[in-house]
Symmetry: C2
Subunit: 432 residues, 2 copies
């Protein structure tokens, strides 16, 4: 049984009256408008196959901080909502608009991360239960024969080397009708996947070797503005401010002048918003690699000068991301305090919402005992304890407070879907 999650007001709650719960109140009150708006947006821009969105909730602000189009962590979802996942998977495949019976799932190459492989086991099982044949194809160059791995849950998965014949990808005797990536292509677009006759989802252009967070958040800003007009709120309540520089090199001190300036400009802008809404918190920013994931190359700063004062170790850490890719672009994003806590000892919690096609299918809290409310809870080696949502965020209850669990889940689902819509627009206009 999942323990209860508490959602205290931020420390400054007694002096902050207006913005607190503004987002939730407006969202709960406008459900029909919101769902109608989403319906018309999804007709214009089809949703990604699947996605997960990291949210931070400071009480006065709820915002997405990362949108992952190759979501791991399906093993952290509540198994009670498996049927929702299965039904959504059927819908997502149906949208491919062609006969699909066999699916090749391509996971990440790291075979020692058992948490990640558990996720692959769950996705494979969901696809099977949805009525498709599914096999796992690996891009590991050294893999020459099937590799069966035992999972902690007791089941096994088998990775197969992929074979390319002309423009057809297969694994021994199994010719898939589509290829589903759960590999974010941080290392670049693999030649073996280029120009295949089989459709690949998500599209290769959405891998982290080409996708930029700043492009995503530019789309998100537009989405947030259009949405906020519908329900009559300042879009800042759901949209983290951000700035970015051109090419930078963390190893060269002079390169960081642009960063310092942008950090300072952003902090001033955040301070102005805090004053507008009477929020007595210290503004901070998060500097992270513009391309990349897994919380590497991430730092927080409360002033621009901190960027100039980095020591060699910190510079090195910021310079490289997953699979050793060099960081040459960063996004500087408004830090959103996480004022949600879990359990009696008030541990900081960050929520992650999962979607398949346009449907919210579940989520969980990352709970990290040793982190503060401005820390990044998705950092390397982080031992978070996932706490799955007990319900599947679909419908608010206007008779309940906007802050009840049910209504907060609906709000999370709305914000996550806004980020999902931004991701959908990225694909339609990739180079905005």
């Amino acid at each position: 049984m999942v323990s209860t999650l508490e959602h205290p007001a931020p420390e400054t709650a007694t002096t902050v009256n207006e913005p607190l719960l503004t987002v939730e109140k407006h969202i709960i009150a406008h459900q029909t408008t919101i769902e109608s708006w989403f319906r018309s947006e999804w007709r214009k821009t089809p949703a990604p196959f699947y996605a997960s969105v990291d949210l931070r909730n400071s009480g006065y602000k709820i915002a997405p901080v990362d949108t992952n189009l190759f979501p791991a962590g399906f093993n952290n979802l509540n198994p009670d909502f498996e049927a929702i996942c299965i039904q959504s998977l059927q819908l997502a495949v149906e949208r491919m608009g062609r006969k699909i019976d066999r699916i090749l799932l391509i996971p990440e190459n790291h075979t020692r991360n058992l948490f990640y492989l558990e996720n692959i086991g769950v996705i494979q099982s969901l696809i099977t239960k949805a009525g498709f044949e599914v096999m796992l194809g690996s891009l590991i160059p050294e893999l020459t024969e099937p590799l069966t791995i035992s999972l902690t849950s007791g089941s096994t998965i088998t990775l197969h080397p992929v074979i390319r014949n002309g423009n057809t990808l297969s694994i021994n005797g199994f010719i898939p009708d589509m290829i589903l990536l759960n590999n974010d292509l941080s290392g670049g677009r693999p030649p073996v996947l280029e120009s295949l006759q089989q459709p690949i989802v998500p599209d290769l252009s959405l891998g982290w070797s080409t996708r930029l967070k700043s492009v995503h958040f530019r789309h998100y800003k537009e989405v947030a503005q259009e949405f906020s007009e519908q329900i009559g709120i300042d879009s800042w309540f759901i949209d983290p401010l951000f700035r970015n520089c051109g090419e930078i090199d963390f190893m060269k001190k002079e390169s960081n002048q642009c960063l310092e300036n942008n950090v300072n400009t952003l902090l001033v802008a955040i301070q102005k918003k805090y004053e507008e809404y009477g929020i007595h918190q210290k503004p901070y920013v998060v500097v992270k690699a513009d391309a990349g994931t897994y919380g590497m190359g991430v730092m927080i700063a409360h002033s621009g000068v901190e960027l100039l004062d980095l020591n060699r170790k910190e510079r090195t850490r910021m310079s490289t991301t997953k699979e050793g890719q060099k960081v040459t672009k960063v996004i500087i994003q408004e830090g959103v305090y996480t004022n949600e806590t879990w359990g009696a000892d008030k541990t900081v919690a960050e929520s992650v919402v999962y979607m398949i096609d346009k449907n919210v299918v579940g989520g969980f809290y990352r709970v990290h005992p040793n982190k503060g409310n401005n820390d990044n809870l998705n950092s390397p080696g982080m031992q978070f304890e996932p706490q799955s949502f007990e319900d599947c965020c679909v419908s608010p209850d206007k008779d309940q407070s906007p802050d009840t669990k049910l209504n907060r889940r609906y709000t999370y689902g709305v914000i996550a879907r806004l980020a999902n819509l931004a991701a959908a627009r990225e694909f339609v206009t990739p180079h905005s």
Copy 2:
């Protein structure tokens, strides 16, 4: 907490080895083939908006006996699977292919059946939770102002008189984008609904004033044959044999000669099948109105002569169906023994499976303490105790016996979807 349902072998189990569980075994083993086949069929013929299917399971045979395109009883489904219903409703509305924000739900006219009105309350709530505005429009001629009715569950529903302006239907100030019928039009096609600019689902032609069970079961026979070829079974295991007469008049004795002959022919055909599979049961048939529902005008017979020997009261009962419609056509269908029982006292149970669009969204058992295993469990005034399915029938587990609850539910979902597909074909080729 729902009590356990037992599924004993039929009395003759010890001598019947082969056909017992044949259907389940083949269905569980062929899940991927089945789902692939359904996917391709739904691409050709879109599923009805919603439907419920009554199933009877004799152990050696599982067959649909009624397919309702205006399903009542949503209040009997397991509320744990509300999210599945909501998601499926969103999909069903999306398939309309136009902007739908406001839905007018038209219920049956009987305002004193609180069980039925509870169903309407649940459908209205599901539609609201799915993010649409929904109001109830009534076809009751005497209704001139809104009528609010308190439900036993504690909530209320309000029926509004419908207003027709040109070819637009509305209720005071509420112009719906679509009209959803939960009224089976037994009394005929209401002129107020003809030639509206708003789409009506299900189509008026699918009301019981025009729809014939014999047409449905003719389509079902084809569907069952195509399906059975896919998984290698005799389609008789899932398809009740049937015959029908032309015009008949129960009040005139001579009119029943055709009935008697057909009953006898059908009984011989059933006996032959029973012998082929070593089933030691007594064949029987069910005679029911070809157009109509609610279990009126239904009788069972073990010999053709019983049709000639009806007394006046029985003739009168068979002559009229819901809303006083005269029965002029009947379908004579193979009786399928219900060898499923509920609880310690082995009460006969009949399952009803609900679908929205092509998705199974739940079901329940009709449990009637005073009925036998060849009785019709949906008869007038029947006080059945609904026992909702504890799970939502989506995916089998090949590692479990075909007779476990999970796998049986999957089988039920498959058979119900076959009936749903037959209904879909009725609409595409209504006069086959």
